[in-house]
């Protein structure tokens, strides 16, 4: 294996090849810290040509690789499974071209999501998908995970904002997916659509053409607090039921509110409320008045305790601050955090949350909820101490039951965080073996040798049967412990 690392180092130099065992520990997990495994080496290519050269060396030697951006993934996407090399794309962070007229940008994969918006701000344009980690996460990672965010309720996910991509396939060959530019998706086989959301298992995109959106003339943000979660959820159903299309609809529960209020993201949310609902509209001023008025009626109908409305950017930023920082603020509750990601039909939100709190109680885990209520995308957060294997096993089991519940209610196991290693064993809850087999065939078409981010998304056959009884992750957590 030494020779592969030597070859990579000869190609990129010692500053862009890390292979010291101890330094590599820094790459052993992403935002999903239950699964940890350090890579064999980390390389930092800076161009498409270098990515090609790296992948050629790896495929020649049969060494698997894992593409990585900022490592904010919450499902273990950029964490190795088995000996592999991490291809770190953070240094490929240039915006190559902005077309203000056709409203698109050509970016390298390491460009940070929010940096792109900052880059085109003077043109009154922005990049619409806005994951909560948008100040850190990269566009390349967003493409891999088909990331969403609070505003995707109205504006769609990453895939809805992609025009084309230059992709290096696992054997080093270049492929152009989609078009170079253009207002519509291309005709023919929609390989770009297939590639987006493949979680880095089909290849590495090195240039991405994304759609830019025009800034809305005005934005209105409302925050309502409620004495119980049920009222908050019913208010959401009513808002959508009235035909209103908010740009975002977010709920934070009481435990989340308290964690946020104790952090630097303190936003002045009422700490005695059982839930706060954040609703945002954008568009023309007159329409906003009408929409805000209707929303206030809904809030009143569901006995909102307090309603705040922000019209200026500063106030608006304050109301959002707590929501955007909710994940990190959980660090105050315990040493580790497991952020789940499930989806239920909007009308089943109340039922789902009751079930989730019951599961939390049953397994004695500290559970908080913050979620994109508009599209029923739940993010139950479980705080725990990862050093305690028994507690970790309970956390994993609770997570498994929560995802089972989402599927049972007619939803899915992931809204935007991806499957990664985290939910690989939950795939059979949603797909029949023959459907998973079709996915595997598509994957083989891109990656014949199975070198590109192996061990992610698609379970192998034996795991399918096993997972019905007991999540493999628990076995792994306990097995690791027994082995030592």
């Amino acid at each position: 294996m030494k020779s592969v690392v030597d070859e990579l180092e000869a190609l990129l130099g010692p500053n862009r090849t890390i292979h010291s065992r101890d330094a590599l520990l820094a790459w052993e997990c992403d935002g999903f810290t239950i699964h940890r495994e350090p890579p064999l080496a980390v390389v930092f290519p800076e161009s498409t040509t270098e990515v090609q050269a790296v992948l050629r060396i790896l495929s020649k030697n049969g060494v698997p690789f894992v593409p990585r951006g900022a490592g904010t993934c919450l499902s273990g996407g950029p964490t190795p499974v088995g000996p592999s090399v991490v291809v770190e794309l953070a240094r490929m962070n240039r915006v190559l071209d902005v077309d203000a007229v056709d409203r698109s940008a050509l970016v390298q994969p390491g460009v940070v999501n929010l940096d792109l918006t900052t880059h085109v701000k003077h043109l009154s344009l922005h990049y619409a998908p806005d994951p909560s980690s948008q100040s850190v996460c990269t566009i390349g990672g967003n493409v891999a995970e088909n990331s969403g965010g609070p505003h995707c309720f109205k504006y769609g996910m990453t895939v809805d904002h992609l025009i084309g991509a230059t992709v290096v396939l696992p054997d080093g060959q270049l492929a152009q997916l989609g078009t170079e530019s253009g207002p519509r998706p291309p005709q023919g086989l929609d390989l770009l659509g297939v590639f987006c959301g493949s979680e880095g298992t089909f290849g590495i995109c090195t240039e991405i053409r994304v759609r830019l959106s025009t800034d809305q003339p005005a934005v209105r943000t409302l925050l309502a607090s409620f004495a119980d979660m049920t009222s908050a959820c019913r208010a959401v159903s009513d808002i959508v039921g009235r035909g209103l299309v908010p740009a975002a609809l977010e709920i934070l529960d009481q435990a989340t509110i308290r964690a946020v209020e104790a952090s630097v993201y303190k936003a002045g949310y009422p700490e005695d409320a059982a839930a706060v609902l954040l609703v945002e509209f954008d568009g023309e001023e007159e329409t906003l008045d009408e929409e805000a008025g209707q929303t206030r009626q809904v809030f009143a109908h569901h006995d909102a305790l307090r309603i705040e409305e922000a019209t200026d950017p500063r106030e608006r930023l304050r109301l959002w601050k707590g929501r955007k920082g909710a994940f990190g603020a959980m660090g105050r509750l315990s040493t580790d955090l497991y952020v789940l990601d499930g989806v239920v039909p909007r009308t089943k939100l109340v039922e789902a949350l009751e079930g989730i709190y019951a599961i939390g109680k049953k397994h004695f885990v500290v559970l908080t909820n913050v979620f994109h209520a508009g599209d029923g995308n739940l993010h139950p957060n479980i705080s725990y101490d990862g050093r305690n294997t028994e507690e970790t096993a309970r956390v994993v089991q609770a997570g498994h039951e929560i995802l089972e519940l989402c599927v049972k209610l007619g939803g899915s196991v992931s809204g935007e965080h991806g499957i990664g290693t985290e939910k690989i064993n939950h795939m059979p809850l949603m797909y029949r073996p023959q459907d998973l087999d079709v996915m595997a065939r598509v994957r083989r078409a891109f990656d014949k040798e199975g070198l590109c981010n192996p061990g992610k998304v698609l379970p192998n056959r034996s795991a399918c049967a096993e997972s019905q009884k007991w999540p493999a992750m628990i076995a792994r957590v306990l097995g690791e412990d027994a082995a030592r």
Partner: protein, 430 residues
């Protein structure tokens, strides 16, 4: 909630070093939930794109070290040494992790276990311990340096590689003897009715290199009707020693300062790095004297914004870009005060530049120890400043002033770098 015995999920592996870290440092690393929100705030991560050069990665490595999972602590040290200790990550961290404390205590533990090797590091440490920390020796050294410079030895030193290029580019020429003279010690009385008494911290290298800034600070305080005490017994703040992992030497200096300023209720300083370090004397000394002293410390801008100016600053028709020193904005949370004060200068206009809170790459003696990274970071700062096209750049920390001035010059900018106090002085009265 039920709990069971808590123990590391990863036990020591064969060949791993035992942990030199305190339980407290380990506890502090556990506050990080690996969200990564600190990454874009980190100047070294932005330069290298490497997780091991990011706050999250460094905390993770320190945690691994504490858990006995690291074989060679030198690797951890390497990545910690590349940190500027700018604390931008603390501002970004939603979990409130005290990164600076983790960094400094780990550096100290590793330094105690095995002093850092390498000629530059050793020379730097010798100088810090035996020259910078002693005011008389420091003055003598600068007198020698001045003499050497006037004999043309600086150019020679650079030519033969004795003086690293990184230092030569940044360090200004040593001023003449009168400019290097220390401030007169003891009490200084204002002309008018006194509005209160303050102690003035004068720093170590501030005196011989930036003596004019100390004199300006004294004049500014007097002009604004404060009675100023300059104790002769004060010492260097010890910040550079703490950063170098030598807390015991720093503690000696800190004790001397708590005594020297015992009779003052407020201690004003004009150097963000020193101010930040002195505000952490509570943790450094771990006693009441340290905490009391820390609470008395104020940056000059914070103090004057709070008490208000009684003397109108002299008119100055310039376009100024204010740049936040890390140890002022991240370390002491002082952001608005210097801007508010500068806004009171008649004729002064601000020009906004992108990311004023980004580190400039100076960070004490960082540019001596990590010249390549420091140069990259300095270049980025100069680029963002040049885009704003200012006449003057105002920033309240001597290290930042040198670094920014050098990189502005390299970028072809004519902008001068000043300390905000220099712009706040009133017209000279006859």
């Amino acid at each position: 909630m039920t709990t069971s015995s808590t123990r590391p999920a990863f036990d020591s592996k064969a060949g791993a070093e035992s942990s030199p870290l305190s339980a407290n440092t380990y506890e502090q690393t556990l506050g990080c939930v690996h969200c990564g929100l600190c990454l874009p705030a980190c100047p070294t991560y932005k330069t290298t794109g490497s997780e091991a050069d990011s706050p999250r990665g460094r905390i993770y490595l320190v945690r691994a070290l504490a858990e006995g999972r690291v074989q060679d602590s030198g690797i951890v040290r390497h990545h910690l040494d590349r940190c500027l200790d700018c604390r931008a990550c603390e501002t970004a961290c939603p979990s409130g992790v005290h990164y600076g404390a983790i960094l400094e205590s780990t550096r100290a533990a590793l330094e105690a276990k095995q002093p850092a090797a390498g000629l530059r590091v050793r020379v730097a440490k010798l100088l810090l311990r035996h020259v910078v920390a002693h005011q008389a020796r420091l003055r003598f050294s600068f007198a020698l340096l001045r003499l050497a410079e006037s004999l043309g030895l600086r150019r020679l030193a650079r030519a033969i590689g004795l003086l690293p290029k990184a230092v030569d580019d940044i360090a200004p020429r040593v001023p003449g003897a009168s400019a290097r003279a220390p401030l007169p010690t003891g009490w200084h009385k204002p002309r008018g009715q006194s509005r209160g008494k303050v102690g003035l911290f004068t720093g170590c290298v501030m005196e011989p290199i930036f003596g004019h800034m100390n004199r300006a600070t004294l004049r500014l305080l007097l002009a604004n009707d404060f009675e100023v005490f300059v104790p002769s017994a004060q010492k260097c703040c010890g910040a550079l020693l703490v950063h170098a992992g030598l807390p015991e030497d720093a503690q000696r200096l800190a004790r001397a300062n708590t005594t020297a300023f015992a009779e003052c209720e407020v201690v004003v300083n004009n150097s963000a790095g020193c101010g930040c370090a002195m505000r952490e004397y509570g943790e450094l000394l771990g006693d009441e004297a340290g905490r009391t002293f820390a609470e008395k410390c104020r940056d000059i801008s914070e103090f004057l914004a709070d008490r208000g100016l009684s003397a109108t600053p002299a008119r100055c028709e310039v376009k100024v870009a204010y740049d936040d020193p890390c140890h002022l904005c991240h370390g002491q949370k002082v952001r608005q005060q210097p801007r508010d004060l500068l806004a009171k200068v008649p004729g002064l206009k601000f020009t906004q530049h992108a990311r004023p809170e980004d580190c400039c790459g100076s960070a004490g003696i960082y540019n001596l120890l990590q010249p390549d990274l420091a140069a990259d970071i300095g270049r980025r700062k100069a680029e963002s400043l040049c885009a704003a096209n200012p006449d003057l750049v105002a920033t309240g920390n001597p290290g930042c002033m040198m670094q920014i001035a050098a990189h502005l010059k390299a970028a072809g900018s004519k902008a001068r770098v000043v300390h905000p106090v220099e712009l706040l002085l009133p017209e000279d009265r006859p």
